[in-house]
């Protein structure tokens, strides 16, 4: 048989491609549930790390099932809010539903365009509230979680992750615990030019809403700062609504603070 004829070549390559595509489609479909379970546990462990329950390594140690169990035991309320800071829906507690990174990506598009958004809020029983952030780093997306204390005034902790930032430089947003730790105790100021600053060359002494950028990772720091600010702005109505000191957990099914001036304008 002449393996060099055109007909043979075309048929051969077509067959190989179809066969390989079929194998890959089958494998991808059959492994999907397992991969999604892993991703979900990873997201939950990042939220728990940001909330300050334990270091990231610990969740890996105790495994997926126990991490999700821990989350269920400690979550007070997880719900979604709209652009006006009003509660839209509750996330299922039993199945420990959280927004995956790809869902954050979808919301990020709407957040940037100023379109109608559905943003998740995680409130833990010790009063810590966790908000996600999502944006573009230097080489790929960066995302993370920032947690605030009960009154939403002080940052408790944070966790950041990235897809492909340079290891040792931009990768430090994830790998350098001291960068994450530098957010703790800081606050957010919505009256400032930007709610939160990541300053190249070092944050000014005594500025409560600024931290040092990472040396050698200007673009990643910039991208992360942008992500933090865009998302904090999107959560701004929620921050303002909660200023009336009514905890979301006290009025489970009712919208928070109906008399507050911040939400009255939206009627």
């Amino acid at each position: 048989m002449n393996t060099n004829s055109n007909t043979y070549t075309v048929i051969y390559t077509t067959l190989v491609c179809v066969l390989v595509a079929a194998i890959l489609a089958f494998v991808s479909q059959s492994l999907k549930p397992k991969q999604e379970a892993n991703e979900k546990a990873e997201t939950i462990s990042q939220i728990l790390t940001a909330a300050g329950f334990a270091d990231k390594a610990k969740w890996q140690e105790i495994g997926n099932a126990k991490t999700i169990e821990y989350y269920k035991d400690n979550i007070e309320a997880s719900f979604t809010i709209n652009g006006e800071g009003e509660k839209v829906d509750y996330l299922d507690k039993e199945s420990a539903t959280v927004f995956s990174t790809s869902e954050l990506k979808v919301q990020n598009r709407d957040v940037k365009k100023g379109e109608e958004v559905t943003l998740p809020v995680y409130v833990f029983s010790n009063g810590v509230t966790v908000f996600p952030i999502y944006g573009a780093g230097l080489w790929g997306p960066v995302w993370g979680y920032i947690s605030f204390d009960e009154s939403l005034e002080k940052i408790v902790g944070a966790y950041f992750d990235h897809e492909s930032e340079t290891p040792g430089l931009g990768g430090k947003i994830k790998d350098d615990p001291s960068f994450r730790a530098s957010l703790a105790g800081k606050s957010v100021d919505f009256d400032d030019v930007k709610p939160f600053h990541i300053v190249k060359g070092g944050a000014p002494e005594g500025k409560a809403n600024a931290i040092d950028a990472i040396t050698g990772a200007t673009m990643t720091s910039k991208g992360l700062g942008e992500a933090v600010n865009v998302w904090l702005e999107a959560y701004k109505p929620y921050f303002e609504a909660s200023k009336c000191k009514c905890c979301p957990s006290e009025s489970e099914k009712e919208p928070c603070c109906e008399e507050a001036p911040a939400t009255q304008t939206n009627e």
Partner: protein
């Protein structure tokens, strides 16, 4: 075992080592050798990929149209790499390592060792020797990876496989060892040692 088969297996590990002698696969050997765990998973992945894709290409060798052989090889290699990546993502134990190795698992496709062995060996040999040749090259690559990772993790983080070794003795971590240039320096030292032992590798 006949001597030719023995040569097929031993040559890539010692005299014809893909990293230290052929200087292939340098990129990933700098990138994934910060920790033993990552290096081990990478070594196993590359071994499986080179072994199986050599086997498949060898089985197909008489049917592959000569004009599109590189593309067909690439499809086979890519298939293997994606399968390995998908499997790593599916298990709880390997998921964090896959996340840490991130793009480097996918980049096995471009690892010159894989395509090089298919072109140079698998297309002209029977399936079983091709499989062994692929596996042996993966092992040769993996061994160097593990040696480099051993030095880098021990002196960079004071640990081995994440367990404290030097750090338990109060060792202060050396940041330079963590950075990629140190991998190149260690690699250079390994090549130096190998060349001073195997004199026939030295150029006149």
């Amino acid at each position: 075992m006949n001597s030719k088969l023995k040569e097929t297996i031993l040559n890539p590990i010692l005299k014809g080592n893909p990293i230290t002698v052929l200087v292939l696969g340098i990129c990933s050997s700098l990138a994934v050798t910060v920790e033993m765990k990552g290096a081990l998973v990478m070594a196993l992945s590359v071994t499986i990929v080179t072994g199986l894709s050599s086997l498949i290409c060898s089985l197909l060798r008489k049917t592959i149209p000569n004009r599109v052989r590189i593309i067909i090889q690439l499809v086979v290699v890519a298939l293997m790499v994606i399968l390995v990546d998908q499997l790593l993502k599916s298990f709880e134990g390997t998921y964090p390592i896959d996340k840490q190795l991130s793009v480097y698992i996918g980049l096995i496709i471009t690892n010159c060792i894989v395509m090089g062995r298919i072109e140079a060996f698998a297309l002209g040999n029977k399936p079983i020797p091709s499989l062994l040749d692929g596996l042996a090259n993966g092992v040769g690559y993996g061994l160097i990876l593990l040696v480099v990772a051993f030095v880098r993790e021990l002196f960079g983080s004071g640990t081995l496989f994440g367990l404290p070794v030097l750090s338990a003795l109060g060792y202060v971590n050396n940041g330079l060892v963590i950075l990629p240039p140190m991998a190149l320096i260690i690699l250079g030292c390994i090549i130096w040692i190998q060349r001073s032992i195997q004199k026939d590798l030295q150029e006149k």
